[in-house]
Symmetry: none
Subunit: 431 residues, 2 copies
């Protein structure tokens, strides 16, 4: 059985330009998913009759089962959705007497006379039925075009949502949903490449038209998204859970969490369980480790703070890294990474400290210390670890990689897992 | 003459569902506007070959002058953009030997063997030319389809932007912008709203079909993009410079720089001129000020480092903020902001120090100290300033605003300009 698909169109120049984030479409997608209808395309279009007509025409031509257009149904001159839809369908706009009467009543009830300009809101594409708006004056409409159900709704979120819940969902349930249910989940990994994650997932998940996978990569992280379709909720749940377990096993200890869990949330939980706090000493990441940790509300429960020791002088002054060591081994060395971690642990008075030092570029690289080289130092007082990495990309990407891998190394230390990357011997007599 | 139009397609399930906000399209629109090319439609599509083919086909059929598709060019099975584009065009995918050689070299340079799965990144739709990627491994491509210029680019923002700037903009300028000469410039402001910037620009720039303006807003900053069209280079230059001067005058001291200049670059220049170094003491921004400054290569010349004192204990231990003051006035107070700045200046041994303390949310707000409340403290040893702000948005937006405004306050102090926002009296006897 082919799975029903939906296209959403949001009308408004401010949505195309991103001045306002379009949120009706994502919300609609989240409502349709459990009904087994997948939102595959979201289109943002200027308030221009020809552009709207082109986008509506393309959505209808794509043969999807449901098209929902939101916005541009008000009374002003830049509300062009009715006209664009009528043009795409090749039908005229006609006055709906029921809508007109309701509009007039709405004004009368508030002791107002209906302005002439508001009459345009009673126009519907020929053949459409009105969709009542319980929260505002702009009526919506619904029509059938061949096999497609087509809804036109106002873009005001409260009105859009109310009309989706009262009119669209019941109609979709009746005519499209069939009996299947779609459930989604995700698994999150750190330290593996996207290619490696995809290879491992491919090995354990057999081709199954009821299962879909997606990959989403950030520097140092890959998310595996899974969606399972079943005949009913229990069936879909069963399929999803079985797939999640298989994928989690294939990803092994690189998998740090499920669904929307972040690496920092996992770290926070592990640290709170031990009653321990983390501190950071940052050189090449320049504050990014602290920033990432404090992106999480409530991070102060497990994060004491950080020292951004960007210059050598501050590595000595704030972290107690001996000048002689910096001179002999260099700021980008396993010895300095370890000394920074030790200094942060002691001076911040924390149980666990992580340190980064490296060459983020674009300048400063040499043959033996190339751009991308980063040492990560780690100590919890009993165990000390230093690892060496060469991260890819430009300055921003290298810094983002170093931050993610530094946090992942903390997770691995707390769980007693081997560190990622190449373990460096940090011995001053080496320099 | 009809104005050239562009359609943007962003590929990825996470963009359709809104799990991630699509920002490449809006940024592209801001770049194209001044060139006289209008982004009229932005389409977000799942990583599905047929869906991508349908969306690409619709964009080409709409007859617009430029189509840009971003994302889905990586090496994994859910990277389906090449296939979707080839299907829409009815052409096969062919190996580009130059791209393949560059890919192999890229892996070799990092001491790695190219995995078999990566070869797919050397496939281009027949008839396309490769577009080099200066920041990553996925090549882009460009082709002509009747009158439409079609670009396929990676979705990673740093890669997308670099490729737009190096390859797309020059091509658009050559082939779409017409025979006259079009020159673009930008003015950058901090601390003003987009509405206020637009109002001031509107007052000084008369309607002129040869001049176009665009606005691109980030938390705390607004960029004004200007484009001038002249009969020849001298004519366009003259028009652009006159407009830039008028706009700069209207923006006054809120305008910190031209073109691609960043606020941190301006700060760096001002600090180097004085032989001074900056230090940061961060609570609510949690490392973001230091991160933003060290995004700039060579920041160590004027940035000593920072202290992320997220918990009260660290404000006392590292910045010398008296416990009694924290108890009496609270961590989010003008008194604490000033004490943090003084402590950072002294302990980091810098000439200028900036401090942030506030409530980034989502929790922790009260009637008198709402979410978004941030105090910024500043001292250069002779002058001390504390300002109070209530920033809009969610946790991430509030932190981004606080960071930009903190840096802007440093610029204003160095230039002897009045601070932004409401000046707070910091007196311990007030608490």
């Amino acid at each position: 059985m082919r799975r029903p698909e939906a296209t959403f169109l949001g009308i408004g120049g401010e949505l195309v330009s991103g001045r306002r984030e379009e949120r009706n479409g994502p919300w609609l997608g989240a409502q349709l998913g459990p009904l087994g209808v997948e939102l595959t395309t979201r289109v943002l279009v200027e308030d221009d009759e020809d552009r709207i007509a082109a986008a509506v025409g393309a959505a209808l031509a794509s043969g999807c089962d449901l098209v929902v257009v939101a916005g541009g149904l008000g009374p002003t001159v830049d509300d062009r959705t009715r006209q664009g839809v009528a043009k795409a369908l090749g039908v005229p706009l006609v006055v709906d007497e029921g809508v007109l009467a309701a509009l007039e009543k709405r004004y009368r009830d508030r002791g107002l006379e209906m302005p002439e300009g508001a009459r345009v809101m009673a126009l519907l594409p020929e053949g459409a039925e009105p969709v009542p708006n319980p929260k505002g004056s702009a009526s919506g409409f619904v029509l059938r075009h061949r096999r497609t159900i087509f809804f036109g709704l106002p873009g005001v979120p409260a009105e859009f949502r109310a009309m989706v819940e009262r009119s669209l969902i019941p109609r979709v349930r009746r005519e499209l949903a069939g009996s299947s249910v779609l459930l989604a989940g995700a698994l999150r990994t750190a330290g593996l490449t996207e290619v490696e994650v995809a290879r491992r997932v491919g090995e354990v998940l057999p081709e199954d038209p009821r299962l879909r996978t997606g990959f989403y990569a950030l520097p140092g992280e890959v998310e595996v998204a899974l969606a399972a379709r079943g005949d009913d909720e229990a069936d879909a749940r069963d399929l999803l859970e079985t797939a999640m377990e298989k994928v989690a096993a294939a990803l092994g200890d690189a998998c740090y969490g499920r669904d929307a869990t972040t690496l920092v949330e996992v770290l926070g939980r592990l640290l709170r369980e031990r009653g321990a706090r983390l501190g950071a000493a940052e050189s090449c990441t320049g504050g990014l480790v602290a920033k990432r940790v404090t992106d999480l509300p409530g991070a102060s429960e497990f994060f004491a703070g950080g020292i951004v020791a960007y210059a050598n002088e501050e590595k000595t002054r704030f972290l107690g890294v001996p000048e002689a060591l910096l001179d002999r081994c260099g700021a980008v060395s396993p010895e300095t990474a370890l000394a920074m971690a030790r200094g942060a642990r002691e001076r911040l008075g924390v149980e666990v400290a992580v340190a980064t030092t490296g060459i983020a570029g674009p300048g400063g690289g040499t043959d033996t210390k190339p751009v991308g080289l980063v040492y990560i130092g780690l100590t919890d007082g009993s165990e000390e670890r230093v690892t060496r990495h060469v991260f890819p990309g430009d300055r921003g990407t290298i810094r983002a990689w170093a931050t993610t891998i530094a946090l992942e190394q903390v997770r691995r230390l707390l769980l007693g897992l081997d560190p990622l990357g190449e373990v460096s011997e940090a011995g001053e007599d080496r320099c």
